[in-house]
């Protein structure tokens, strides 16, 4: 009977978690999502607690009360400290998974060696490695974000760093395999402890080469790892709820980190293998901005997260008759609270006032238009410069290249913006731009 209750509870909690995430679709339903999550969790906890094998109720209650005592204040941190809190929380999650895995192993070792099948042992080892590396990794991340004294803020890099990191992980995995194959050999407990230790170490090594700016991505990956460790725990405990909830979490962390990587113009593999250091160096090195084909989602993402977007239209906008699309984009951004300005170069287009005619046709208010002289001092504060079918008027060649036909023409300093998005017809390299995004016609 209680077993049936537990199973039913698992189904129910799973459904609630799915709805919880689904409702995050939309700010309007998002709080309902939290309620669903809380209910799901409550169902899961109660259903587990009432199982007959749970006998130390005081002990469980104590731990739960302690969790509340620490959890409530933690939820009241200032919003600026939210990233640290999330990281810290991942550390706790990782720790819990790691500890449960360790407990299961030693329990099996001392009491039911037969239960340590290869499958179960693999799950335990995976759980422990993921759990502990998440634990220390997240702690480090939280420390860096909180600017704790004894954790270096700046990325710490040294030659062969990647080799060392991967080495540690490989050794841990090898030890793990040994334990899986011989779970009850005399050396197995030590080997298992070795796995734990190496996972703890790897968590630290994984984070130190990463700078603060990349932390959100890292935290999102750690979130994914925490989810996967819950999945492993589910396999160990033969608990489908753990598997589903963990999988939901693991996949959401994955998606989020992929999206963030895209927004930061990084490939996901680059981030996944912790090789952030390399990019950091390249960034520090030179002015030579790379250009890259951006996806529509990535561009969306960039634009929505910006505070100030400067649109720089040119002849291409006119040729493509894209002014109405531009207006749609303008409406969307304004609605999201982004400040949008249109920087009109004196010779943009092919006739005096060409841009004005088109933007007025699309009913873009005059107040949103600014002249070149006015916008240029503001460009370094601009999050995204969106160059729409303009070339000469943002081409830095006008500053440097003596034999360019446009040498000496004042230009709009699109290149000073944090990010430049250019929409154009061909892929001829655009000197000022990070690269072409697909035509706005494809935008949702």
């Amino acid at each position: 009977m209680t077993h049936a209750v537990a199973q039913l509870a698992a189904v129910l909690a799973t459904a609630l978690f799915i709805f919880s995430l689904h409702w995050m679709n939309d700010p309007k339903t998002a709080r309902r999502g939290v309620a669903a999550g809380v209910t799901g969790m409550l169902v899961a906890v109660v259903a587990t607690w009432i199982q007959p094998e749970i006998i130390h109720h005081g002990w469980v209650a104590l731990a739960i009360v302690a969790g509340f005592i620490v959890g409530v204040p933690l939820s009241l941190v200032p919003l600026t400290a939210v990233p640290q809190r999330t990281a810290l929380s991942h550390a706790f999650g990782g720790l819990a998974a790691g500890l449960v895995g360790t407990a299961e192993y030693f329990l099996g070792l001392t009491e039911h060696p037969a239960e340590l099948t290869a499958f179960r042992m693999s799950a335990i080892v995976a759980e422990v490695i993921l759990g502990f590396l998440t634990f220390t990794g997240s702690l480090m991340a939280a420390g860096k974000l909180q600017e704790v004294k004894w954790i270096p803020q700046r990325p710490v890099t040294y030659p062969g760093q990647n080799v060392v990191n991967i080495g540690v992980l490989v050794i841990a995995a090898a030890l793990g395999v040994a334990v899986v194959v011989n779970p009850t050999a005399p050396w197995s407990a030590q080997a298992f402890s070795g796995v734990v230790g190496l996972a703890v170490l790897f968590g630290v090594l994984f984070i130190i080469p990463i700078g603060g700016a990349d932390m959100p991505t890292v935290i999102s990956i750690l979130n994914s790892y925490a989810g996967l460790s819950a999945v492993a725990m589910g396999f160990v405990l033969n608990n489908k709820l753990l598997v589903t909830a963990g999988a939901l979490d693991g996949s959401s962390g994955l998606i989020l980190s992929i999206i963030m990587c895209r927004a930061m113009n990084r490939s996901f593999t680059n981030v996944l293998f912790g090789a952030f250091g390399t990019v950091q160096q390249a960034k520090a090195l030179g002015e030579q901005k790379a250009w890259k084909e951006e996806t529509v989602e990535g561009a969306d993402q960039l634009l929505e997260q910006a505070r100030l977007v400067v649109v720089i239209p040119g002849y291409g906008m006119a040729v493509a008759q894209a002014q109405h699309k531009v207006r749609e984009l303008y409406d969307q951004l304004i609605k999201r609270g982004v400040t949008v300005k249109f920087a009109i170069h004196p010779v943009a287009g092919r006739m005096p006032g060409h841009m004005n005619v088109l933007l007025a046709e699309a009913n873009i208010p005059y107040t949103a238009l600014v002249e070149m002289e006015e916008i240029n001092p503001e460009m370094p504060q601009c999050d995204v410069a969106l160059v729409i079918g303009a070339n000469d008027v943002v081409n830095p060649a006008a500053r440097y290249v003596k034999d360019s036909p446009i040498y000496g023409m004042p230009i709009i300093d699109a290149d000073k913006a944090r990010t430049v998005l250019a929409i154009k017809r061909s892929k001829k390299p655009q000197r000022a731009a990070l690269g072409p995004v697909t035509s706005p016609a494809d935008r949702p």
Partner: protein
């Protein structure tokens, strides 16, 4: 063995759901989403309760108790802070 296959099945299906659902989450909500999934991933609490409360040796139960405490912290703070952030959203 059958059981593990079920688990695998469940895992694959849940991953599909996760990918599908999260991809449609509004980008405005990524920060609360992260703390929400963080709270949900504390479902490890289920395992911790078993380890902490069943008839096991004390050392095991201590490990379980710590794990339970850690998970519970996550659940409480994760849900609370998500709700706090979403409330501010509403006001905007």
């Amino acid at each position: 063995m059958t059981d593990y296959w079920s688990m695998l099945f469940v895992f694959v299906l849940a991953t599909f759901i996760g990918l599908g659902v999260i991809r449609r989450v509004s980008r405005l909500l990524y920060t609360p989403l992260m703390s929400l999934t963080n709270a949900i991933s504390a479902i490890a609490v289920v395992g911790s309760i078993v380890v902490a409360g069943a008839d096991y040796p004390l050392t095991i139960r201590i490990l379980g108790g710590v794990a339970l405490f850690a998970s519970m912290t996550n659940i409480v703070s994760g849900f609370l802070i998500t709700d706090r952030m979403l409330k501010m959203f509403k006001k905007q």
